[in-house]
Amino acid sequence: MSIQTPIRESRVSRTAAMALMFLLAIYFLLPVYFLIVAATKPQGDLASTFGLAFSHFDLFQNLSTLFGRSDGIFGRWALNSVIYAVLGAAVGTLISALCGYALAKFRFRGREFLFSVILGGVLVPTTALALPLFLLFSATGIVNTYLAVFLPSIVSPFGVYLARVFTAAAVPDEIIEAARLDGAGEFRTFFSVAFKLLTPSLVTIFLFQFVGIWNNFFLPMVMLQEESLFPITLGLYGWNGQTARVSLLQESVITGSLVSIVPVIILFILLQRFWRAGLAAGSLK
């Protein structure tokens, strides 16, 4: 009896746990599955056939319509998103790493004060910054240019926080001391010694900032009027608003949405361990 009870209990709870997790997995995967199915259908079948079942396989036709629309504007949006996110995250990671490294390894007056200012920055909602930035950028004339979206995107207080935590954990003081004794300057020490030790952490910081910029919507919406500068999110939002008048756009909104999320989802699955490192550091706070 005393042995049987826990086994029976665990069989029941095992089944219940699996059932609950499967239900939740269906909830998380359903919209993406729907999008995949819908992206393969001709526009006419969207309303007339059941949404979760395939009908005519028109994916390639849909893709060519999507990329051919308005002289290939969608390809331009995709390229813009890549430029904003890859360049912004690369520059952002580098400056976060330099700053986080200095905060972790150099002793100087005001260090903790600077760090708490940065931590306060983590709590500042970026949407609150967009409107005043728009006015400041209007005055300097960089509104409605690549720079208007790129420049604010490189600042990531969370990246500095991660860089400090990771440096403290991954770069031993002895190695820095040894490099100094060898006569290496601080920048040489950083780029040749610390950089190697920090590489996995830098990937994590890069990924968080990449997704932050890739998903950003409010800042480009406030800053940009010129369609050819839009990232994918803003472009598809614009198309989605026109589907009531131009119903044929609907299929392109669906196919475009699929095209825009597939590369990032693949990146996610391939680089899972880096995400977990970042979230673990975030949970330490």
């Binding site: 600077l114 709590l123 589907t243």
Partner: protein, 315 residues
């Protein structure tokens, strides 16, 4: 601007008293060189806009008398703030978002916590699959997520509506009562997995020995989860709550997309949408005051929540 940043950094970079001058540590100039690449854009694109918004919120635009009067900008004290607090649309948007947050945040975090706890037990198989499935929405931009869900809400296209109709129901996801919860569902879909992974990472960091003794005493997985694991990861739960509160007050993209297909979302549905609508009408001073009020509410709620919970948890 650059001068101020450099000078400020030079001031703070002076070596502390405890250090010997010849211990091989970096010179002040080197410290400044490491910090400036981040702090210069941080000051320019974070601190300056905040200061600018606060300054602007104290200005008013007035007109000189008569029909041909010209407008001029002058100091108005708290006039803009008084207007914000008298604005019924502002309070309506705060009310909506408050209701949204009070329901959506606890539901989302409870689901995330249950998933994290289950993934931390030996009860499940396919753990990797469940983790990826839940975290995957984090890769989807809010705008795209809202577009995807708006197809699932649409009476013409949605397979979900078809299925519910087949079961004899008449769902209206975009109706006046339901649309707020349809927006809440998009947020829940987007962020549950992210919060779950933060909690799961914290659970993984707990050394097994901590509940080895409880296990030997015959404590059930259930008891271990709620009595031992949950209290230990309380800081992570608090962190995810604070991030969720901030996110809720900033809500913009999801309702803006749903507004494209539902007449039940006004242009001032959330505080942020109201701020944008006011700014679009060129009333930047009023928009700035609204933004400042939202930011202050955000800070008060986040810090208030942290104080409250850390006192209770004895942290």
């Amino acid at each position: 601007m650059a001068d101020i940043a450099t000078r400020a950094a030079r001031v703070v970079a002076e070596p502390g008293g405890r250090r010997r001058p010849d211990d091989g540590g970096p010179r002040a100039g080197t410290v400044v060189a490491f910090l400036t690449p981040f702090f210069l854009p941080f000051v320019l694109f974070y601190l300056v806009p905040i200061a600018y918004a606060v300054w602007q919120s104290f200005l008013v635009v007035r007109r000189t008398g008569g029909q041909y009067g010209t407008s001029y900008t002058t100091f108005g004290g708290f006039e803009q703030y008084a207007q914000v607090f008298q604005n019924t649309e502002f309070w309506a948007s705060i009310g909506r978002i408050g209701l949204f947050g009070i329901v959506q945040v606890p539901v989302m975090l409870f689901v995330a916590l249950v998933m994290a706890l289950l993934l931390d037990t030996p009860l499940l198989r396919l753990k990797g699959f469940f983790r990826v499935a839940a975290f995957m929405p984090y890769a989807v931009p809010g705008v795209i997520a809202a577009i995807m869900w708006s197809f699932l809400y649409s009476p013409q296209l949605s397979p979900v509506v078809d299925l519910l109709k087949g079961a004899g129901l008449q769902p209206d996801f975009l109706g006046p009562g339901a649309v707020l919860w349809s927006a809440a569902n998009v947020s829940t879909w987007l962020w549950t997995g992210y919060n779950m992974l933060i909690m799961f990472s914290a659970l993984q960091a707990i050394p097994e020995e901590l509940y080895e003794a409880a296990k030997l005493d015959g404590a059930s997985n259930w008891a271990i989860a709620w009595r031992i694991k949950v209290p230990i990861i309380a800081p992570s739960i608090i962190l995810t709550t604070v991030f969720s509160i901030i996110g809720t007050l900033q809500l913009y993209a999801e309702p803006a997309v749903l507004r494209q297909i539902s007449s039940n979302i006004s242009s001032t549905f959330t505080p942020n949408m109201l701020a944008y609508a006011v700014a679009s009408g060129n009333n930047y001073q009023q928009a700035a005051a609204i933004s400042v009020v939202i930011a202050v509410i955000t800070f008060v709620l986040s810090f208030g929540f942290m104080r409250l919970t850390s006192k209770k948890a004895g942290l």
